[in-house]
């Protein structure tokens, strides 16, 4: 069980940083300062931060587009995130891809592609290489509930189980695939029911409780690192925004959204830290000030950074 105040406040910091960066991105989108799509993981902060916060530097994670906190706690800076959204030359994909389609392999962050679940077998392949070389590394692969209906998800989970690969699959189940609710996606009640069929240990956890996420993820990561093969974790949460910033979410029932807001992972964790005497009001205000300042600096730097030239398009199609 987590108890050390420094660790816990650090988790809250990254959850809040996730939200602050996305709040800024949504604002910029409304102001017309960003081109392209905007996807947020509002309300999902406990999952990315909870899982990725347990990884070692040479472990690898493939997050989803709702897991900004995972990118940040694994080492990507808010400045890099803004550079990516702005399509800048010095961003993680050097302007070649946009929004959350980013990664930084030197930090152990793989990038997802829009074809949901494609990363599921790819993560198994990275895990295969780690196992083959006798490296005690772990690979984590996140996906949304929607991805669990694709063939690549099923094939990837099966391969990971058959070859007992050191990989942890984490489903960010926010109960909507774009506009399609969970009950229209599958005829079983829980995603873990699908995963268990492939022969790996599964856990169902409250995705809005960062400590609960960490507890099951810690077990799964230790199992993978110890040679015990893959695991699957379903983190149930609420999608509080539309699929993207262009989507007003009107098809989601009001009581679903209200339940999600009531169970806000950041508010809940802030209260818990307060109740444990680990973070008083002054401490929380200090944390918020620090984050606001960091976001401001990151945005200012990103906005001043150069765009790529049009002709940069032609560079880097093939590796030398």
């Amino acid at each position: 069980m987590d108890g050390d105040p420094e660790t816990l406040v650090r988790l809250l910091y990254f959850m809040k940083l996730h939200r602050a960066v996305e709040d800024r991105i949504e604002l910029l989108y409304r102001q017309g300062k960003l081109v392209g799509a905007v996807f947020t993981g509002r309300g999902h902060e406990a999952i990315g931060v909870g899982v990725a916060g347990l990884l070692e530097a040479d472990d690898v994670i493939f997050p989803t587009h709702r897991d900004l906190g995972a990118y940040l706690i694994k080492g990507m800076t808010p400045r890099a995130v803004f550079l990516q959204y702005l399509g800048r030359r010095d961003g993680p994909t050097r302007g070649r891809d946009g929004n959350m389609h980013m990664g930084d392999w030197s930090l152990g962050i793989g990038a997802f592609v829009s074809h949901m679940a494609d990363t599921v077998p790819v993560a198994a392949g990275v895990a295969f290489a780690c196992k083959h070389r006798g490296q005690p590394r772990v690979v984590v692969c996140h996906m949304g509930d929607g991805a669990t209906s694709r063939g690549d998800w099923h094939e990837g989970l099966n391969l990971a189980a058959v070859f007992r690969l050191p990989v942890v699959y984490v489903c960010v189940n926010n109960q909507y695939a774009y506009s399609t609710p969970l009950e229209r996606q599958m005829a079983v009640p829980r995603i873990v029911d699908r995963a268990a069929g492939y022969g790996m240990p599964v856990d169902l956890v409250d995705g809005n409780d960062v400590l609960a996420v960490r507890e099951v993820a810690r077990r799964a990561i230790a199992r993978a690192r110890g040679g015990g093969g893959p695991s699957f974790i379903e983190c149930v949460t609420y999608r509080l925004r539309g699929h993207g910033a262009h989507d007003d979410n009107r098809y989601v029932p009001r009581d679903f959204l209200e339940a999600g807001e009531r169970r806000d992972p950041i508010a809940g964790f802030t209260r818990a830290l307060h109740d444990r005497g680990m973070l008083d009001e002054a401490g929380r205000e200090e944390l918020d000030r620090r984050i606001a300042a960091e976001v401001e600096v990151a945005w200012t730097e990103a906005e001043r950074s150069p765009l790529p030239a049009g002709t940069d398009t032609l560079d880097g199609v093939f590796a030398p």
Binding site: G103, V122, G125, F128, D152
Partner: protein, 323 residues
């Protein structure tokens, strides 16, 4: 030593497995069974189940797995039992393997071995030539050896390349062509065509099994065949534009032959290349011989009709000579 095209592929795999511990093979029935065509026969015994790995029937899944292993620095060689089954892995190849270096700067050194082509009574699902689907995918290299020497040399080059490479090995050639192949480290560089038979009146551009059909056509043409220059492209991406340019400028007439279907086939692109590189030098239209726009049929007379033959190629070449 004289070996077959199939043995040349196996020799390349064996030598690369010996040379580099990061090379490994995966695919359906490649281990215990030695592969549907026995290309990998003996390799499981020699290199063990950690490096010659039988896969479940999950082309998208094991292609994704190979991509991940390649991103982590290994050099997987995937065998698709038949190139027709590569359609199941289309998304992983075109969206993940081909775009990862461009987006992330992470190389994906993976080879997709795809036994392709007709003439073996395989019918609509075991005879295809899928190159056109993939030629339109930036970030992916595509090669098609015609000889045992190039089967070995191109495969070794593909394995050592830092990009995903689609390696189209023609099933009809497996045991039908053989030659004295250089032992040890023979590399055929990607992106270099070769002149199989020189000539100065008509350029014939082709690749894969059609190289042999073209050479048969030339010998059927007797003395007139002497004017035909047969170029084996070997590598479709990257393409050796220089060799095409030189030959087309010299002869002024170009015939393109491929086994894949006509519409959207590589001949269309090659025609445009000839126009871009040599239009002022042309003395006639660029023509093509290709399969008709149908699935590959099963029944022997239908398949014989479907496949470009030496007779149809000779007729087209003669027509151009006379133009």
């Amino acid at each position: 030593m004289v070996i077959t095209y199939l043995e040349a592929i196996r020799q390349a795999l064996r030598e690369e497995l010996q040379r580099d511990p990061d090379v490994f093979l995966l695919g359906e029935d490649i281990g215990v069974f030695g592969g549907a065509f026995k290309v990998t026969e003996g390799l499981l015994e020699e290199f063990g189940p950690e490096r010659v790995i039988d896969m479940p029937l999950a082309e998208a899944g094991f292609t994704g797995m190979a991509i991940g292993a390649a991103m982590a620095g290994m050099r997987p060689v995937v065998e698709f039992q038949f190139s027709d089954f590569i359609s199941c892995a289309f998304d992983q190849i075109t969206n993940f393997a081909a775009k990862t270096y461009y987006r992330l700067g992470v190389p994906v050194p993976v080879v997709f071995r795809a036994p392709c082509g007709g003439g073996v009574h395989g019918g609509p699902f075991h005879s295809g030539n899928p190159e056109s689907y993939f030629l339109h995918t930036p970030g992916l290299k595509v090669v098609a050896p015609a000889t045992a020497t190039d089967a070995k040399g191109l495969l070794k080059a593909a394995i050592r390349d830092n990009n995903p490479v689609l390696y189209l090995e023609h099933k009809y050639l497996y045991r039908r062509v053989r030659e004295d192949v250089v032992e040890g480290d023979w590399i055929t560089p990607l992106g270099r065509a070769t002149v199989r038979k020189p000539g100065s009146e008509v350029t014939l551009l082709t690749y894969g099994a059609m190289v042999h059909v073209a050479l048969d056509a030339v010998s059927q043409m007797g003395e007139r065949g002497g004017g035909v220059e047969v170029i084996d492209l070997r590598s479709l991406v990257p393409l050796d534009r220089e060799t095409i340019r030189e030959s087309a400028r010299k002869t002024g007439k170009v015939l393109i032959v491929h086994e894949a279907q006509r519409t959207g086939g590589f001949a269309g692109e090659l025609t445009a290349v000839v126009n871009e590189e040599a239009f002022e030098f042309l003395d006639g239209p660029v023509r093509r011989v290709a399969a008709p726009d149908t699935p590959v049929p099963f029944s022997p007379p239908m398949e014989a009709f479907y496949l470009p033959s030496a007779a149809t190629v000779a007729e087209a070449a003669t027509g151009l000579l006379d133009y």
